[in-house]
């Protein structure tokens, strides 16, 4: 009985050294995670400043399809605000025009991402439904892009926004393959992955994303999706909501109202 109790005591020797070295490895790796709350806060203040606490937010966007008139101002605002490259077709947000004929034939267009508006071709055919759908990064709560990034250059912030560290990304483009929504592209100059950030530089200062601010019909609604009262929570309450490619279980935080089944 006594022998058994002594078993776990440290004994010198090679085998024991290896054993203890291996056992102490996980705690050593976990050390960075063991920062005190105070230290964490200091680091956060360094990044966000004192007036913004990312854990108090959970950002999302609502899009009311029936309100979109396809003017393309959101696309233009985004291009200008975020220096999105012009050529050939790079977009952090874009607008798709759908026209569905009585025969069930679906025509989808997005010339220049809809930046300069659309030609009205609803009179050409026997169109029964026509509408515009703004698209952007869905800021998924279970983001496949973050999962596949080999170096962790793309990550989810505490307030739920998916960002890319341009100084860290190696440009392997696995995230672009993994995104079901075509929301990512490789920046031609920096050669790293890029996408919509919900205008992160603006929202941490209490401003709206550029596309939301530019929309003349308030088809885009931005705000917190949980907790306190916000325009988005009101939007989620007042409308029947759907998300894109729901079956992929990515849990998007871009919510659509009045979405047609043809939109993918």
């Amino acid at each position: 009985m006594k022998e058994k109790n002594n078993k776990r005591e440290f004994q010198p020797g090679r085998r024991n050294f290896i054993k203890w070295a291996l056992l102490s490895l996980p705690p050593a790796l976990l050390l960075p995670g063991l920062l005190s709350a105070e230290e964490r806060q200091k680091i956060e203040e360094l990044i966000y400043g004192k007036s913004y606490n990312p854990r108090e937010h959970r950002w999302g966007m609502g899009i009311k399809v029936d309100k979109c008139i396809g003017c393309g101002r959101c696309v233009n605002a985004c291009k200008l605000e975020n220096n999105v490259p012009e050529e050939p077709f790079y977009f952090r947000t874009w607008v798709e025009q759908f026209a569905i004929s009585s025969g069930g034939e679906v025509t989808v267009q997005s010339p220049n991402g809809g930046r300069y508006g659309f030609a009205d071709h609803t009179q050409e055919k026997n169109i029964i439904r026509s509408f515009y759908v703004p698209k952007l990064c869905n800021q998924c709560d279970k983001p496949p892009c973050v999962q596949v990034c080999p170096v962790g250059a793309t990550f989810k912030t505490d307030d739920g926004v998916i960002l890319v560290d341009a100084k860290y990304c190696i440009g392997c483009r696995y995230c672009i393959q993994a995104c079901p929504y075509g929301a990512r592209f490789l920046h031609p100059a920096t050669r790293v992955a890029e996408k919509c950030t919900f205008c992160y530089h603006r929202i941490v200062k209490g401003l709206l994303p550029a596309c939301v601010e530019a929309c003349p019909t308030q088809a885009r609604v931005f705000g917190d999706s949980e907790g306190k009262a916000s325009p988005l929570i009101r939007f989620l309450r007042m409308n029947k909501i759907w998300v894109l490619k729901q079956y992929l279980n990515t849990e998007p935080k871009v919510f659509y109202a009045d979405l047609d089944m043809e939109v993918k």
Binding site: P88, F89, Y90, F91, W94, E96, V106, T107, V108, Q109, S110, G113, K135, P144, V146, Q147, V148, C149, P150, V151, G152, A153, Y168, C169, I170, G171, C172, R173, Y174, I176, Q177, A178, C179, P180, Y181, G182, A183, R184, F185, L186, T190, R191, V192, A193, L248, K264
Partner: protein
């Protein structure tokens, strides 16, 4: 918007994984396949394929050395590649590449080759003079024990490493399949069978490659081909192809039978974009013709001379077939829009790092490495001259 049919998302105008990412799984597949062939002799005691044992090991090593190069070359920021090793994201299939690769190179291939060649290296060191003597001594890590006991230990070590090596080879290439098979956004890739299909097509391509290299190198050196060995290689090639074909057929039937949302765009993909590379080259020339050819020369027991050349041509066709398999997966998977409403096109360039020339160089490089390895570590033993 040239070459686009229907609607694609605006950002999809650029195709992201080009020729370099086609040759990456092709090369790693050849590594895994060649190694599994080598292990047949050691673990499963298939004595007939003994003449190709060392050749297969060196082939695996040569291709493994070249394997990371296409990956590296395709990165947008290749100078940051080391981040994959320094701060890997453990959730990412791709981040594991460095570790799987290092394990396979260090713990399996180099060790096995070293133990297998150790006795010969000591003897070569004794027989040579000057610099060569020291090179062999250094490769043997200055070991000098050629006693019966030491040789027995070498043999045991090789066997143990091979036993560890088989699952490692499965891991190496199965993992490459997982990189594609786990992308749920892409219905052409997303399949649980992907790692297994990759693995068996790897075995097929590896056996075919060693068969080609064995035949060509033996003929070039004016030696006599070991016919029982060739027959056995062809048999294994045949069995591996049957399994590979069945798996791919199963995947195909399952997709058609389930007939999910993506079925329309995928059938458009095949008829509009992949007809030649998938139906004609991969299926007909790369699979059915060699299967039929090998089966018929064996069944009718045709003369050795005819069998030889049938094997060679079949193996060459198989190589082309497996290459187009990789092409159809990697490029094919990016030719349709994730909106499932349109097709795009791949415009291959000749020059540039992503171009045809660079990829051809990367494909030829392993053969050059193999040539050097054979010069340093001759894999031939006990052959007859013609």
């Amino acid at each position: 918007m040239k070459g686009v049919i229907g609607f694609i998302y605006p950002n999809e105008i650029e195709l992201h994984w080009g020729l370099l990412i086609v040759i990456y799984p092709y090369i790693t597949g050849l590594v895994a396949g060649a190694f599994i062939l080598a292990s047949l002799e050691r673990v499963f005691n298939v004595k007939e394929v003994q003449p190709t044992y060392r050749l297969a090991l060196l082939t695996a090593l040569a291709f493994l050395i070249a394997a990371p190069l296409p990956l590296l070359a395709h990165l947008g920021r290749p100078e940051r590649f080391y981040e994959i090793l320094m701060t890997p994201n453990v959730q990412s299939a791709m981040a594991m590449f460095g570790f799987v690769y290092a394990w396979y190179l260090m713990a399996v291939l180099l060790l096995e080759i070293w133990f297998d060649y150790r006795r010969d290296l000591i003897i070569w060191a004794q027989e040579s003079k000057g610099l060569k003597k020291w090179i062999y001594k250094a490769i043997a890590l200055f070991s000098s024990d050629v006693s019966e006991q030491a040789i027995q230990f070498d043999k045991k070590a090789v066997k143990t490493i091979t036993i560890i090596g088989i699952p490692s080879a499965f891991l190496l290439h199965g993992y490459v399949g997982f990189i594609f098979g786990s992308v749920k956004a892409n219905p052409w890739w997303s399949s649980v069978l992907m790692p297994i299909v990759f693995l068996f097509s790897a075995i097929v391509s590896g056996i075919a490659l060693v068969l080609i290299i064995y035949m060509v190198s033996t003929l070039l050196r004016g030696k006599e081909l070991d016919m029982p060995c060739l027959d056995k290689l062809a048999s294994f090639l045949f069995y591996a192809m049957i399994i590979d074909f069945s798996l791919e057929a199963l995947d195909f039937i399952q997709r058609i039978y389930e007939s999910e949302e993506s079925i329309h765009i995928l059938s458009n993909l095949i008829s509009e974009r992949l007809f030649v590379s998938l139906i004609i080259v991969q299926l007909l020339l790369g699979m059915l013709v060699p299967l039929f050819a090998i089966a018929s020369v064996k069944m009718f027991n045709l003369p050795a001379e005819l069998r030889k050349y049938t094997y060679l041509i079949s193996a060459l066709l198989v190589e082309v077939g497996i290459f187009t398999t990789r092409w159809n997966i990697v490029i094919g998977g990016q030719l349709f829009s994730k909106s499932f409403r349109g097709l795009t096109a791949y415009k291959m360039t000749v020059g540039g790092i992503e171009g045809l020339l660079a990829s051809s160089v990367l494909l030829l490089l392993p053969f050059l490495i193999l040539y050097l390895l054979i010069k340093i570590l001759p894999p031939w033993e006990g052959e007859k001259s013609t």
